[in-house]
């Protein structure tokens, strides 16, 4: 076993473990922490592929900024995960949920299997197959060329879309103050405003 393989196995197991724990924890703070763990392991996987830049950006943007914001909002609302989940679902809806879950897992297995069986370089177009085209895959220059030259307009349009979403959230949060909206909506809007500060 080479060192590369050992590192790959450890970080991929940690990534999947973190993701699983994230969705099974009752405590939201623990969920955020496991998500960070999963992200850090994913960053290691990127770095192993030679995409140092992508790995660093993943840590800076997600672990360093977005999840701090998550944690901040959770702390501000003081969610401790002791709330009950309400009434258990009726049997019919449970059956549908489990059926859909099984279907999804089967699909996932088929996609992964097809990507393993096919020749990586022969059919790059098939789903689930990623081809490393250059030695500088994921390097700062390559990403910059894609973002700021090839996909400049889609990229800038996405940023406007995000801006619209932010403005929309602010408007939605503020409207409930003028109207006699429900009390909890008003207080959560206020905390969002504080988080945005």
């Amino acid at each position: 076993m080479t060192l590369d393989l050992v590192i790959f196995l450890i970080s991929s197991v940690v990534a999947v473990f973190g993701a699983t724990m994230m969705i099974t924890q009752r405590n939201p703070i623990a969920s955020v922490l496991f998500m960070i763990l999963s992200l850090l392991a994913q960053a290691v996987l990127y770095i192993q592929l030679g995409a140092l830049f992508m790995g660093a950006v993943l840590v800076i943007v997600y672990a360093g900024a977005i999840l701090v914001l998550f944690l901040f909002v959770i702390m501000l609302l003081n969610l401790r995960g002791h709330e009950s989940l309400g009434q258990p679902s009726p049997p019919i809806s449970l059956t549908i949920k489990y059926a859909l879950a099984v279907l999804f897992v089967l699909e996932l297995i088929m996609v992964v299997k097809s990507s393993f069986s096919s020749d990586l370089f022969a059919d790059a177009g098939s789903p689930g197959v990623m081809v490393m085209q250059t030695d500088t895959f994921g390097a700062a220059n390559d990403v910059a060329v894609l973002l700021f030259q090839r996909y400049l307009y889609p990229f800038e349009l996405t940023s406007i879309l995000l801006l619209v979403a932010v403005v929309g959230a602010v408007i939605l949060a503020h409207r409930s103050r003028d109207d006699d909206g429900p009390v909890d909506a008003a207080s959560s809007g206020e905390s969002e405003g504080k988080a945005a500060e």
Partner: protein, 340 residues
């Protein structure tokens, strides 16, 4: 392969020992200089000029009782100091501290890992330090700690943006993300050895970097998370003995890390005069520049009063962020026109 691994491990051990020792005697320096600035003597009993004070402090902290308050969330409360401590040490992995040379017949690079995205690495790992503080505040189960943790997370999110934007100018001018290349391009053979330092091309960028760095490291005048007059000791109120020591050492390691990065990005890192005749001077220049920064930290602490919290947030978003954006835009314009 074995030789490379061995040299790397030796470098890691040396750097960690030097950094931790530096942290210990930074506390002495801070108390001594702060004392002098306030017309006091400062520590003077343990050893000559109180030089053994850090040893005495360390021993005291080690033998103190480790108190675990009943209100804490045990797991997170335990890992919080570790999360705060480890990222503080990581930036030193990419900071170059001397000229590559041959020692004992081996080629030795004076940097642990010469990453081609060194600048990003530094920002990635330092941005993780906030989790330690936030978790400590949240898991302590005390209102002072919680308020300290919330303040800290809000402050760090706010200043992180200005912090990141302030070095865009340097990266644009240097046209690289590698700390080694940034240091090498700041060298100069003339008698004006400091003529190529980045600070002359990025004066505004440097001011923004230092201001945001002070906020990021929770130092005066931005030490709101601790703010002893309002919050006792903020996020580490409930910690004692070695758990507290980890926060304490982590804070000083953060300061040393920021000082090293500032020296590397804006003041030519290990560059300095007489390097042709004596390459070992490179390490001396580097340490000297870091030392000057640490003195600056202490001096500012003695000079400035603390911000009020709303002023601090307004300052970050309404002054620093627009200025950082302006700096990045003007620099990229000048670089595109070929004037820098």
């Amino acid at each position: 392969m074995l030789e490379i691994a061995l040299i790397a491990s030796i470098k890691v051990i040396i750097v960690i020992v030097v950094v931790l020792t530096g942290c210990a005697w930074s506390t002495w320096l801070e108390r001594k200089v702060l004392g002098r600035l306030q017309h006091r003597i400062g520590p003077s009993f343990a050893g000559p000029y109180g030089l053994l004070q850090p040893v005495a402090d360390g021993l005291k902290l080690m033998f103190k009782e480790d108190i675990v308050p009943a209100s804490v969330e045990k797991t997170m409360w335990t890992i919080a100091p570790i999360i705060s401590f480890i990222p503080a040490l990581l930036p030193f992995a990419v900071v170059p501290f001397g000229i590559d040379s041959t020692l004992f017949g081996h080629e030795v690079k004076f940097v642990i890992s010469d990453l081609n995205i060194g600048v990003l690495f530094v920002f990635a790992v330092t941005s993780l330090g906030v989790y330690g503080i936030v978790l400590a505040g949240w898991s302590s189960g005390s209102k002072y700690s919680l308020l300290g943790g919330i303040r800290s997370s809000a402050q760090m999110i706010s200043y992180e943006i200005g912090y990141g934007l302030s070095i865009i100018g340097v990266v644009l001018v240097a046209n690289t993300l590698s700390l080694r290349e940034i240091v090498e391009m700041q060298g100069s053979d003339s008698i004006w050895f400091f003529s190529n330092w980045m600070i002359w091309q990025q004066p505004l960028g440097f001011l923004l970097f230092v201001t945001c760095a002070f906020a990021e490291t929770n130092r005066c005048p931005f030490d709101m998370p601790e703010c002893e007059s309002e919050l006792v000791a903020g996020y580490h109120t409930e910690y004692s003995s070695m758990r507290f020591a980890m926060f304490f050492v982590g804070e000083y390691a953060n300061m040393l890390g920021v000082a090293s990065v500032a020296a590397t990005l804006f003041f030519g890192g290990w560059q300095g005069p007489f390097l042709d005749t004596a390459p070992w001077l490179a390490v001396v220049w580097f340490v000297a520049k870091v030392f000057v920064f640490m003195l600056g930290y202490i001096w500012l602490r003695a000079t400035f009063p603390r911000f009020r919290y709303d002023q601090l947030m307004a300052f970050g978003w309404k002054v620093l962020l627009p200025l950082a954006l302006l700096n990045a835009m003007v620099t990229s314009l000048l670089v595109t026109l070929g004037w820098l």
